[in-house]
Amino acid sequence: MDVLLPILTMAVLGFLFSVGLAVAYQKLKVEEDPRMVAVSESLPQANCGACGYSGCRAFAEKVIKGDAPANGCPVGGSETAARIADILGVEAGEMVRRVARLHCRGDREAAKNRGRYLGLTTCYASHLVGGNKQCSYGCLGFGDCVRVCLFDALHMDENGLPVVNEDNCTACGMCVDACPRNLFELHPIDQNVLVYCRSLDRGPAAKKACKNACIACGICSRACPEGIEIKDNLAIIRDYKKIEPEQIPALEKCPTDSIGRFHKSDEG
């Protein structure tokens, strides 16, 4: 009896409380949209804010309301977009992967040096004193971008220019921020024409500083007036989708090789 009594007491107490909780649960049950759970589960749950909302949950709410597109999560990519679209029964929309691309071809051979630079070997330090090259827009070649890349997507080639490994690039934008001369830009991976120069110098001056500088001769913009324009002594791609494939060979007549097909392997 001495053993039974405490056991019984606790059992009855426990039972009473659990009945109370069960009743309370029925009364206070929160009806959650089942799509909310499903969408939340397909998101990466990194709460990084790359979608522009304050976290994965906030994004999921907006998607269900229809305020955010199903492909709004850049981290999850097209796989996540497809899953969310599946849950909500909407079109996923195309999600083109983006990669970082360098807008300079002024390697050691092409670009002339101003003199001998003996300072700190970072782009940032070199940029503070005007850079080591004659061109004041081009790549400084000390690899600040390579050092900040967390995904092993950048390395310096033998001529002192960074090269992007597009398979590893996640378009995180670290290199874009790291470059003191703002030479990186994130492009859709299917954009295959690129202006490899950011120099705003006039033609002769630009050409003197670097063999591969854009001299704003206008060959490319005449070949494709829809997609390319010349502004401030520099060719600019306004809309790469308006450049027709048959116009690309004409672009390759560029006298300084500063515009062209991105993937050389696509040629031929």
Binding site: L5, P6, T9, M10, L13, G14, F17, S18, G20, L21, A24, Y25, L28, K29, V30
Partner: protein
């Protein structure tokens, strides 16, 4: 008069956080913003009051008559855990943002030693039913007072130039210590 004295004493003199050093976990964890600190204080006050009442009933109507007072701790844990579950469901229903803001600290009220301490102290001091209710409410308000004051100070601290090694938890603990010192000033109010 005695009850009023007791109420004031529970808030200021024998403040659970600053006198007994119980319930430090949410005191440091949820004291970053005043509004969530107020809500946390309310939740704890609610749980403390109801715990005090229910545990008094269980203690005096079941445990003591049947000489089962060694089961006090287990029985009180049962009471506290159920109550916290109730509060959690309630807050989730009423205000999802508040539920998110309190986060893990809400279910952690279950293991908050201030509440267990309250139930045990009330039974140790042999309070009557009315005294227990007053004591429970007062203690909860004392906790609320302490956490809200702390949150106010920490909101100001965010703007202050705190030395590098003391940033974050370091300065929070120092502030808590100074607050506890200040609260000992109330100890002359009762014997």
């Amino acid at each position: 008069m005695n009850l009023l004295m007791m109420f004031v004493a529970a808030i200021f003199v024998q403040n659970y956080v600053l006198y007994y050093f119980l319930g430090i976990c949410p005191f440091l964890g949820v004291s970053k913003k005043i509004d969530s600190a107020v809500s946390m204080g309310m939740a704890v006050t609610f749980v403390m009051t109801i715990t005090a009442v229910v545990s008094w009933m269980i203690n005096h109507w079941i445990l003591i008559p049947y000489k089962l007072d060694y089961l006090q701790i287990v029985a009180f844990i049962l009471v506290i855990a159920s109550l916290v579950q109730l509060v959690e469901m309630f807050i989730r229903k009423i205000s999802p943002p508040l539920y998110q803001a309190l986060g893990i600290y809400l279910p952690l009220i279950t293991t908050n030693c201030a509440i267990m301490g309250l139930a045990l102290l009330a039974s140790l001091k042999n309070f009557s039913f009315l005294e227990t209710v007053i004591y429970g409410t007062g203690s909860g308000l004392g906790f609320t007072l302490a956490i809200v004051l702390m949150a106010g100070i920490r909101e100001q601290l965010d703007l202050a130039d705190v030395p590098e090694p003391l940033k974050g938890a370091g300065i929070a603990l120092i502030v808590a210590g100074i607050m506890a010192l200040a609260f000992t000033g109330f100890s002359g109010m009762i014997n």
